[in-house]
Symmetry: C2
Subunit: 584 residues, 2 copies
């Protein structure tokens, strides 16, 4: 090794030791006769001191030229620091330099390599290798590695087998768009990159592997929304001879284990909520339950009182914002503007202030009595000092709008504490959802999800009413995982494809292998897939997954560092039997 | 769970327990009034007994219809078996069935689900999910999972960080062919799948991650030779501030750890051999040293004795085959035929029998004295009873031919014991090799390998003579890993690209990001990559990697189970801006 110690380990117990360190120059302070260098590596920062009296004048001169991010190797003696730095694990000591070498100089970096940097997003991504030197990014990647290993060890200890499934598979038009890979050896044919190893893990269950997991890259060629990546990492799991309860228990166990091991947080039983309840209470199926502000439906208390705006609406629904009765007119107007933005698209907001004296003041005092407002406050569980906010309109749309407002308010009120963890299970998802555009059913989870056994007969008569043993694991307002009990019967699978609008031929061409497999003793099975990028970022107390990915792509799907994608050789195209279409 | 116990855990301590098992019918024996069913799952086999006297006649009747591979759930009591089966962990007990359900019936499988199957390779791959039910395949996959976890834990314990590098990267014409992925959002441009994360792991070192590992899929679009897969798994590692010795020590440590943990085999220091020595002694750079038969060069003892066949050759080289002096003329002729096959392409074989009485009998007695033959025997370290085999011709070709013969003989003599492990390091590889066809240098490892520092000046004058701090880890005649100290200097990297025939523009377009990164404080670094598929198969005592891959492709690169690659929708092509060339 080019070092005897790392830059993170020396302390008072090492005083007098001759050591060799290697690392990057974080910064220098130059007093002419003395130079201090903060030397950095993955493990920490150690102060090096060059001193014309105690060491060598020539060396001191040489040290003058050290710039930020130079890579150097230093020999010296560990001495006690006069002015100690309690914020640094190595802050009690410094290295009195006896000799040093510049292993590699550095140009001035395009942004500062500090915890807080002046580099913009694009610049940081272009020079990601420099960005990674910054402590927050570095710590995120180390954190991810730690979480990942903890998951593997937990699942392995519980008899899950890590099986690698193929990356070069077959394209299926169901779901999102596939990335495809032209085959040279099979001219005119393409592989596809997996959106998930779904069918393969099911075949592993048919193959008797019993319990499977894999931490695996998946691919979706979607128009990227903010914070989506074309390639992402999934913790993919499947179990045989299980019922929903077994899967919930196991993966509740996994998340509890991670929270405890990684965060030192003890969470007891996870609450469970049906899909219907989640939608009613929070307006979405991944509620953030770190705070209240549950929805209260007010139709019965707000209609027929002569307020025409409410009378004609499908749903009137409100929340109580804690301690917000003191909001000024201006503050409330700002909220009203916020919900009227096109991204939310609401018409407005009705408000009721719950005064400390028990009285109410509202924007609809003209139409409603104090008794009415008392009812509203009661329904929304508002206390004195709270502000009740009410929206009305078409049910689904209004719920979505109020949900967005609820999250925004929680953000503003600081209720989304990243170090508080509130997991829950959302269960009993509908099997299908009706798509108005294509006028057909879509699978709510995916086409392999089993209908609830007791509702099987409804499939023929009222498929939209059928629920599934499908579940989502939600953490702090994010869906971090989802799964279901799968179909293991060829006939049911056929019915399902039929409901989803597949012709027999299409089903056969795309999933014939699976339906055939189901005829050779397929066992009951089910599973779950968790998004590692999201899980790690939430556990890390942050919201953006990009900061937990070593080399992310931007939202045009480009890697700015290596400048990919890029054009390829015409001979490569030739070999692949492809021609580029002329650009219009 | 649909079971209280697995099929692999019940024994005499469970006698009298009411249990529920679920699994596959391995086989049934029917005596009319009694039926035995071997019930199988991942964990083992348990015998179920249906008995008209002790249980129920109706149930017995129902059990008559159970066929192979039916999935059933059985409730019953654990009882002691009358005739125990010592080969089975559960062989002391059986389950007296009280009730059972068929969870899913099965058609008759296309091949028998037994350790020894009647299914051919193609059929087994088409129904891989049934093949996986067979114990050897299942055990291989479980073994792989275990090895993989042991590697992760070892490396993590030694401060390696598991970092995921991207799969959608940029195509580079150097090396093998890339699989490419057309980008929809960037029309006319392509990603490429990584042949290895080489540049990314180097950028992680530039980024200060210090020690990195990843178990990662890599892709090569090559014409597949037997036992090569278009996608394969690599244990990819890189370290900073290291010299060659540090890497050898660490990964010698890893392999020792695996051999001990997984196989219970203790191996002490790994031998090291230079590339030149390996070629001279074994005729190839991945020698199997589980057995001797080292090459002896005989030019000085065989030329100028009037045997024209030898006199005109560049190299005369022999090996001593232990105990083979007793080979009949017919046996030796068979060997001669073997080396004359076009795959080997030799002209013939000269032999010398070392008789027990100390005399020699050879195929060239006419030209050589007993003293000459004594010299040959001495050089090849032949003892009485051995057979010396000699080949002659152009040096490289002859070495290759004799190496093939040596391996064939070892196979025939049973010297390649799969449960003996003989690792070694081959070091000091040449930096470049001259390619006669393209009349230019190719990188022996890859373009990022550093020349030996003390030979740097030779780069300009005699590049072919320059060695690298490059090394291969060899196990039982297979290269299981290879690596090197890398270039970390932008200028040296430029020189290297120049030597390899890149124009400045090509180098810039393809690896500009790397050369730029080297200007911002790139530390000295090096690493290694091990082939997981190969490593696991050798540790598992087998030669074919396919048996250790859950869903392998055949050697036309096809997945026979899902029938991929396949044609894709015209709309997909349209979106990707591609047109298929008309087939000729």
């Amino acid at each position: 090794m080019l070092r005897t110690n790392t830059c993170g380990e020396l302390n008072l117990t090492h005083i007098g030791n001759k050591v060799t360190l290697a690392g990057w120059v974080q910064k220098t302070r130059n007093k002419g006769f003395m130079i201090w260098v903060d030397l950095r590596d993955r493990y920490g920062v150690t102060q090096i001191i060059f001193d014309e009296e105690r060491t060598d004048k020539v060396m001191l001169e040489k040290a003058q030229s050290l710039g930020r991010e130079f890579v150097i190797q230093v020999q010296g003696t560990v001495i006690e620091r006069v002015s100690k730095n309690p914020n640094l694990s190595t802050g009690d000591v410094e290295i009195l330099a006896e000799s040093f070498d510049v292993l590699n100089p550095s140009k001035t970096p395009p942004f500062t390599i500090e915890s807080e940097t002046d580099g913009g997003e694009e610049l940081r991504m272009q020079y990601r290798y420099l960005d990674i030197r910054r402590k927050p990014v570095r710590e995120n990647l180390i954190f991810r590695s730690k979480v990942s290993l903890a998951i593997r060890n937990y699942l392995s200890a519980h008899n899950f087998i890590d099986v690698e499934t193929p990356y070069l598979i077959k394209s299926t038009p169901e779901g999102a768009r596939d990335f495809v890979v032209p085959s040279r050896m099979n001219a005119g044919e393409f592989y596809a990159l997996p959106q998930s190893p779904q069918t393969f893990k099911q075949l592993l269950m048919v193959g008797g592997m019993d319990q499977y997991f894999q931490i695996v890259k998946c691919f979706r060629d979607e128009d990227l929304r903010a914070d989506r990546q074309p390639e992402f990492t999934q913790i993919d799991c499947e179990m045989t001879f299980v019922e929903q309860e077994d899967i919930l228990t196991r993966f509740e166990g996994l998340l509890k284990h991670l929270l405890k091991e990684i965060k030192g947080v003890e969470v007891f039983e996870f609450p469970r909520m049906t899909y219907v309840e989640a939608i009613q209470k929070y307006g979405n199926d991944k509620p953030d339950i770190r705070f209240g502000m549950e929805f209260a439906e007010l139709n019965e208390f707000a209609k027929g009182k002569g307020f025409p705006v409410f009378d004609q609406q499908e749903l009137i629904v409100g929340i109580a914002v804690p301690g917000a009765a003191s909001y000024t007119r201006k503050q409330i107007d700002k909220l009203i503007d916020w919900v009227k933005r096109p991204q939310i698209g609401a018409n407005g907001l009705i408000w009721v202030k719950c005064n400390e004296d028990g009285s109410y003041k509202s924007s609809v005092d003209k139409f409603y009595s104090q008794e009415d407002l008392t009812n509203w406050a009661k329904q929304t569980q508002a206390s004195a000092g709270d502000l009740v906010l009410i929206m009305a309109g078409e049910t689904n749309k209004t719920r979505g709008q109020l949900s967005a407002l609820r999250m925004e308010l929680a953000e503003q009120l600081g209720l989304r504490d990243p170090e508080t963890f509130a997991p829950l299970w959302v269960v009993d998802f509908p099997l299908l959802e009706w798509d108005k555009e294509s006028k057909r059913y879509h699978a709510m989870h995916h086409p392999f999800t089993a209908p609830k056994p007791e509702q099987m007969s409804l499939l023929a008569t009222d498929p939209g009413a059928v629920n599934a043993n499908a579940y989502d694991l939600v953490l702090n307002g994010n869906e971090i995982g989802g799964g279901s009990i799968r179909i293991h019967d060829a006939k049911v699978q056929e019915t399902m494809f039929d409901l989803l609008g597949f012709t027999k031929e299409e089903a056969q061409a795309q999933f014939g292998f699976l339906m055939e497999a189901f005829q050779y003793g397929a066992p009951p099975h089910g599973g779950i897939a968790l998004g590692l990028d999201r899980l790690v970022s939430i556990l890390g107390g942050q919201e953006t997954i990009r900061d937990f990915i070593a080399f992310p792509k931007n939202n045009r799907g480009r890697d700015l560092m290596i400048d990919a994608p890029a054009s390829i050789d015409s001979t490569q195209l030739e070999e692949l039997n492809l021609v580029l279409k002329q650009k219009k």
